[in-house]
């Protein structure tokens, strides 16, 4: 038994899994404390509000807040914590405070796919473009092309992504009048019925186009620079020289020898980017009025809907943790060197 446990602890897959679960548990605890114990926490604020507005006794105000937060007013903090964790295990994130009866998890399920779509498309496009441009920069290093692309990448990474979004709206949308900003709000044209028809799919892409473009511009610079330095490292490797000496075609060397190996380290950075882009989505989606999870988070903050707030926050964290986990688990498939040593 102990032997088995020891083996499990040494197993890479088990370890990253346990790590991910622990992280989510820690964040869940943090969220719990944030909502209940932080100065200015929503429960105290609501109680205060009811006390001053309606002049009822403290106990009654507390009971009413407990009712709207779905917790037993007589339970101790520990009990509350345990029951909250129990609910979480059943994916029960409670019901919304401002619209009673609506389960937070259903709302999240309604908004999250749009964000995943926009962020996923954006990252995919910028990743592929960045790898191509970064390799080009490395092959033509110190040329005019290299210098101008690296200057461009400074602009792309330096300028905050919501500023890119605003620039797109102001310059392309308003000043040059290339598209109607108002029409592109929301996630699809509401006159269409959702389904697998051409008009609907087209409208989905049209509405996501601006957020996707923004994500691409804002993340492309980073991929370019990383891919350039990674490629330059690989170009010095012996196996590239050997491949050249063996007379392999340039095309084969670039794609199978240089490209593949140089792109590997970037996959781990992709998961960091997922977290960052998902997080920054709050502003981007607000700016373009794209109805994704960030928009939902912001709406719940403005109406101080705390259960929705903590639910979305938890789901966002889980998304980041799981994408990290996914990267950790698949990295071995991409890089045989890791698979053999069994550890990074």
């Amino acid at each position: 038994m102990v032997d088995l446990l020891q083996k499990a602890a040494k197993n890479y897959t088990v370890r990253v899994f346990v790590q991910a679960i622990l992280t989510i548990w820690a964040v869940a605890t943090l969220t719990f404390l944030l909502v209940r114990e932080m100065p200015g926490n929503p429960i105290d604020v609501l109680i205060e509000q009811i006390l001053t507005q309606e002049g009822v006794s403290y106990q009654e105000a507390y009971d009413r807040v407990a009712a709207s937060f779905n917790f037993d007013p007589d339970a101790s903090l520990l009990d509350l914590y345990l029951s909250w964790l129990g609910d979480l295990l059943r994916f029960d994130l409670g019901t919304s405070i401002t619209s009673p009866g609506t389960a937070v998890i259903d709302e999240i399920a309604r908004f999250l796919p749009w964000t995943v779509f926009a962020v996923g498309m954006g990252l995919l496009i910028s990743f592929v473009l960045g790898i191509i441009l970064g390799m080009t920069m490395a092959y033509y290093r110190d040329s005019f092309l290299d210098h101008s692309l690296s200057l461009l990448s400074s602009f792309m990474t330096g300028v905050p992504n919501y500023i890119w979004g605003l620039l797109i709206i102001i310059v392309l949308g308003i000043q040059l009048d290339l598209f109607n900003v108002g029409e592109l709000r929301g996630t699809y044209d509401i006159s269409l019925t959702p389904g697998l028809n051409a008009a609907f799919v087209l409208s989905v892409f049209k509405h996501a186009a601006l957020p996707i473009t923004t994500y691409v511009i804002a993340t492309l610079g980073g991929w370019m620079l990383n891919m350039k330095s990674s490629t330059m490292g690989v170009l010095n490797e012996d196996y590239v020289n050997v491949a050249e000496a063996r007379g392999l075609t340039d095309k084969r060397i670039i794609s199978a020898y240089v490209g593949r190996n140089a792109a590997l380290p970037l996959f781990t950075q992709l998961t960091i980017a997922v977290g960052f882009v998902l997080g920054s989505g709050v502003v981007i989606e607000e700016i373009f009025v794209y109805w994704g999870i960030g928009h939902y988070l912001f709406q719940s903050i403005t109406v101080r809907d705390y259960t929705s707030m903590q639910g979305v926050f938890l789901i966002l964290t889980m998304a980041v943790v799981f994408s990290n986990l996914f990267a950790d688990l698949t990295y071995g498939l991409l890089d045989p060197r890791v698979r053999i040593s069994g550890d990074k």
């Binding site: 330096g158 919501y162 500023i163």
Partner: protein, 420 residues
């Protein structure tokens, strides 16, 4: 740091002299640094840009007064307008204040016209019109009619509105009268509002000048706090090792897994700051983990170098090893990442302001964006100057920081990559 010590050691037996020599040493290393920077064009552009930003946001506000008096009781003018001169068609040669001497000039209240013309009040007669005719007094249209009827010789006014009033005039009689008699002349009187005015008739250019100080200070606070925490925890973690090290590493990994911006958004929504600088503190307190991890690995690798080995075998204290041996060797790395953490702090606080979750009592570039969004000027084709000036101010500042940081990277050690 090391060079100034060298100067002290070599030439200064007299302590008073040594103190005098410190600035000299600093100047010398600064000059050496600038010489190396000169060969890096983007870095030089970034450096000059940052100096310009410093002058622009910290010195200019003392010279240029903030135009903060909104005239909410009368909505003033189209956004982003410039003052221009309308005159009679046959008098189109009016081009400067000298030409206006002895004439009667109409100005429209609250457009900056009265201020512009005040210095010349002795040489000409001034007629004042109100922007709207909602209140007593002749309004904008009346001013045009007076001009067309030659009751005044010229009119200082928002060009765009005048053009619109003339072009879209529905009264055919007035339309003909205007078309025949009025010409909009000379932009050369110079726009007293370089970037026009906002929805409240306030000068946008002064807002741009005044709008950077608090933002940059907040970002600096955030950057300093997160860099100091990262430096402290990173080096402690690497130097002591053991349980403390694994504990700190686990904590760092945990914080790194939390999406930082949503956390800030949620916390800002809960706490509701009333002071932007507190926001800087919060950003700093949340922003250290990635840099901490990088500094930890830096210290771990520096620790194995021969000179640290030597210091340790001499029995020097951990303090001495950290401050005198390790820190000077990674100070450039810390500097570079400090700059990057400023850009992050800038990103996060402006994002919060745009969402309306940060204090808007200081009229910063971020607040200009916030109002642009909430008042719809961003979506108004006339509002280009109002919408674009804060956007460009923020964008160029961030680009200057990144260009400068990348130049530092290349100058100090091309192999060092940044933490983020």
């Amino acid at each position: 740091m090391t060079s100034e010590e060298n100067v002290n050691r070599q030439t200064a037996p007299n302590p008073a002299l040594a103190i005098l020599l410190i600035p000299w040493g600093l100047l010398r290393s600064a000059a050496r640094f600038l010489r190396r920077l000169r060969s890096n064009v983007p870095g030089m552009i970034g450096f000059i840009g940052l100096v310009a930003y410093f002058i622009f946001t910290f010195i200019m506000p003392h010279i240029i007064e903030f135009d903060g008096d909104p005239n909410l009781d009368e909505i003033v003018g189209p956004i982003g307008s410039r003052i221009q001169l309308a005159a009679h068609s046959e008098n189109a040669h009016l081009r400067s204040f000298e030409d206006l001497a002895g004439k009667t000039v109409g100005v429209v209240d609250q457009t900056g016209g009265p201020d512009l013309i005040a210095p010349y009040a002795d040489s000409l007669t001034i007629e004042t019109y109100r922007w709207t005719s909602r209140r007593a007094g002749p309004g904008l249209e009346a001013s045009l009619i007076d001009l067309a009827n030659k009751e005044i010789d010229a009119l200082l006014i928002f060009s765009k509105t005048v053009t619109e009033l003339i072009d879209n005039q529905e009264d055919p009689e007035l339309k003909a009268l205007f078309a025949e008699n009025i010409v909009i002349t000379n932009p050369e009187l110079g726009p007293p509002h370089l970037l026009g005015t906002d929805t409240q008739g306030r000068d946008i250019a002064t807002h741009v000048v005044h709008g950077g100080r608090v933002l940059i200070l907040t970002a600096l606070i955030g950057g300093v706090i997160s860099t100091v925490i990262a430096l402290f925890l990173g080096s402690i973690s690497a130097l002591t090792g053991g349980v403390l090290d694994s504990g700190l590493t686990a904590l760092t990994n945990l914080i790194l897994a939390i999406p930082r911006f949503p956390l800030l958004v949620v916390m800002a929504g809960l706490i509701q700051f009333n002071n932007t600088l507190y926001l800087g503190v919060l950003i700093g307190l949340l922003g250290w983990p990635s840099l901490m991890r990088a500094i930890r690995s830096q210290v771990l690798s520096l620790r194995e170098r021969d000179f640290v080995e030597a210091a340790r075998s001499l029995g020097l204290s951990t303090n001495h090893i950290m401050l005198r041996e390790i820190l000077p060797n990674m100070i450039s790395y810390v500097m570079i990442n400090f700059i990057f953490s400023i850009t992050f702090a800038m990103y996060e606080q402006i994002g919060l302001v745009v969402l309306g979750l940060a204090p808007i009592n200081d009229y910063t570039w971020g607040v200009m964006l916030y109002f642009g969004r909430s008042r719809g000027t961003l979506y108004n084709a006339d509002g280009a100057s109002m919408a674009l000036s804060p956007v460009l101010a923020i964008a160029l500042f961030q680009v200057c920081l990144v260009l400068f940081a990348r130049a530092l990277e290349e100058i100090f050690d091309p192999r060092l990559r940044t933490a983020v």
